[in-house]
Symmetry: C3
Subunit: 313 residues, 3 copies
């Protein structure tokens, strides 16, 4: 593995989950591995968990994190090929990635989708441009179509909390007032498809994720039916994929309630809008794993950075 920008960069998710659990037991064990190495964290978008946990992961490996808000701190970046740059962008990604590669041993990038241009978003032009023009490994801290550090985190959390050999996991859409990306949902689907779980997706009609992603995974439009006997309910809003980037409804009948949840554990990547996506009674109960998930972000990131550092020794 050179880069980590997709769940498909995980060769063996079960082994990775075990490795991450071991790191969590002894986070400072490899503090010499990243000594005098620098990781650049480049944010095109807001972040709390990713921003802090990736820094923490790097520090646990002895690395020096350098954080930059690309838009606010630096220059507008141009991604087009052959563009005459007489507009708002002042620096081309070709130069930006090559240059940053010389100051950082690893570059981590967060770049959300437009949600208006499906072709552009699916081309992953930001992340792929970094991979193309940088000379060092690239880690996705969420791109247009995936959030693989979150997906790995979620696999770890499910492995830690399952009480059965093959748990039933449901990914459920929930309402939200804004148009949100598909990235977290996509990476969760891809992670679950690699795990030894019974996995179904629950979403209203019109909200099916990309069929390229969902593949053979059952999609159920009846939330109650999907939730039957669930061990884990992973909740996330996303905007429509077919009617790309649109909010088709904010149907509060899809809000997650304690009643619907039953004995299942509740998961969400955060941030979560309380009483819109999920009611307080769920988040404030022992059924919620959201804080534990956030904690595992550190160890997912640390495992990825550790593997990259080891590959490049």
């Amino acid at each position: 593995m050179k880069h980590y920008t997709s769940i498909h960069d995980i060769d063996n998710i079960k082994a990775w989950v075990e490795d991450a659990k071991a790191l969590k037991q002894d986070p400072l064990k490899h503090i010499e591995l990243g000594k005098n190495k620098t990781i650049g964290l480049l944010f095109f978008n807001s972040s709390l968990r990713t921003r802090l946990s990736t820094q923490k992961a790097a520090l646990n490996l002895g690395m020096n994190p350098i954080v930059m808000n690309v838009s606010g701190d630096a220059w507008g970046i141009e991604f087009g090929d052959g563009t005459v740059m007489n507009g708002n962008t002042a620096e081309h990604i070709k130069e930006a990635s090559a240059v940053v590669s010389q100051y950082c041993d690893i570059i981590a990038v967060r770049a959300f989708p437009t949600l208006t241009d499906k072709v552009k978003d699916e081309s992953e032009h930001v992340m792929n441009s970094f991979k193309k023009y940088a000379s060092v490994p690239i880690v996705s801290m969420e791109s247009a179509t995936g959030h693989p550090l979150q997906g790995l985190t979620d696999a770890i959390t499910i492995a830690e909390h399952t009480k059965v050999t093959k748990p039933k996991v449901v990914l459920s859409w929930a309402p939200h007032i804004k148009a949100l990306p598909h990235a977290v949902a996509n990476s969760f689907v891809q992670a679950m498809q690699k795990m030894d779980v019974e996995f179904v997706i629950a979403n209203p009609e019109g909200y099916n994720l990309s069929p390229e992603i969902t593949g053979d995974t059952p999609i159920i439009h009846n939330q109650e039916e999907a939730f039957a006997n669930a061990d884990f309910v992973y909740t996330k809003n996303w905007s429509s994929y077919n009617d790309y980037g649109k909010v088709l409804n904010t149907d509060s009948s899809w809000t997650i309630t304690k009643d619907k949840l039953g004995e299942a554990k509740f998961m969400h990547c955060l941030p979560v809008r309380r009483n819109v996506v999920v009611e307080d009674a769920v988040l404030d109960s022992d059924s919620s794993l959201v804080i534990e998930q956030a904690n595992n972000r550190t160890f997912a990131a640390q495992l990825v950075l550790k593997k990259i550092l080891e590959n490049n020794k």
Copy 2:
């Protein structure tokens, strides 16, 4: 002491002042204490001294500081209980504090008051929410009603510079064009009330601080009378407390001049508007202790962090 969010968290201010003076003599003595520990500095508002001195204090203890501008870097935070979050806030303080607690061994927070809602400000809803929902110690880097790192700093500075056993200290209001918080003044009052000093407050009518804070401390509306025989004149603007958050006057007769100051030392927490709050002749003279105060910010913060780290070993 678990948290440090008020001058009242200081059990023995004289002992703390001596401890801080000792740290100042040998700032790197405890560089192993915070090794591999992380402090998160969360800013809801602007900062120069606090931002830099708290990082410096953490570095002197071997800690890794992680700095975040909450509003710009992360998500709008919701503090209301039971809110249906379908507005501008994307993350609830319950999740935010619990999550950050997992990446940081100490969380330091700056959150200014609204100055429009006295009840909300006096409830210290931001700082208290962090204390309630975080699982690690919270340090105030200035909250709605107090700036206890500044208050401790000021106690240290007065102790260093006094030439008499029981100096006379005056806290004087001075004019300013904007509505400013009461936090610095409040913490200074509370610190002086614990010190062995003769302490009076000078402010125009309508500018009395909260009587809960000032208690028995004499309040004098005649600046000249208050300044008589003063050893230290601590100057600060604040907006009206009674007519909450209002600028009632910008009376330049309250500006601090060299004439008024006499033999007293001048103190101010900075930033200070020259020739509005105080004339150049004071700031540019040997009577001014403002730079020395700013220097002591490092050692006040370092003492607080040291005590917290020692309590949590």
Copy 3:
């Protein structure tokens, strides 16, 4: 050397170039030199290379970098002498520099020119105020009239890549849609004037740099004539100096093309607007040294910091 704010602070550019090349061979050799020392990087303006390479340079010397966007993170700074500060600025540079000096062993500052007030810009009021009021060394990360870390970088890069004893170096103006500072061009001119090179400047009429800077250096208004037999073509846009800060033309006949360049190496400080300043065919060819230049920013900064640390031991 106490401060580094001008190419004229270099006593012997050939020796410095050799020192920087040695650092580049063994960047971590002096990692103990800056141990427990702090450098404050204060940005009044955007930055990518400078922001990252100066941090990297500091880390290579074992220093702790503290980065601050002055405008966004802290307070509006007043530079005027005797100002009644009842406007938008909240803190005077006198206090700001003295205060930051107490938290940082070196202060690095980026502050661009107004490009509307030539007298103010040429007075270098920001950089000179820091030098005047700070008690620690000041490093320019680009000021109103110079970018000496870039100039040193460029000298290193030319020394590394020249194949002849005395190469011909051309500084060529190129078009741009926005009014840009003269700083990079000025420092490049000053650096070349100290190097053993044949040096000419090519720019359209109306675009001569300050005669104080250019001195005896030939200025040629015919780009083709200037480029004849060039070994290095250093390209940069700048706004008019005579008609101060104005964009007199955006004449694309001055755009650098592969044709014009011939056998010469292409240099630019970046960021560069592709197909406005220079065509893709140049940047994407082996003739371009721009990425290597950016790499050398680390070693130029590291040399400057090393010299300052050694002077202050």
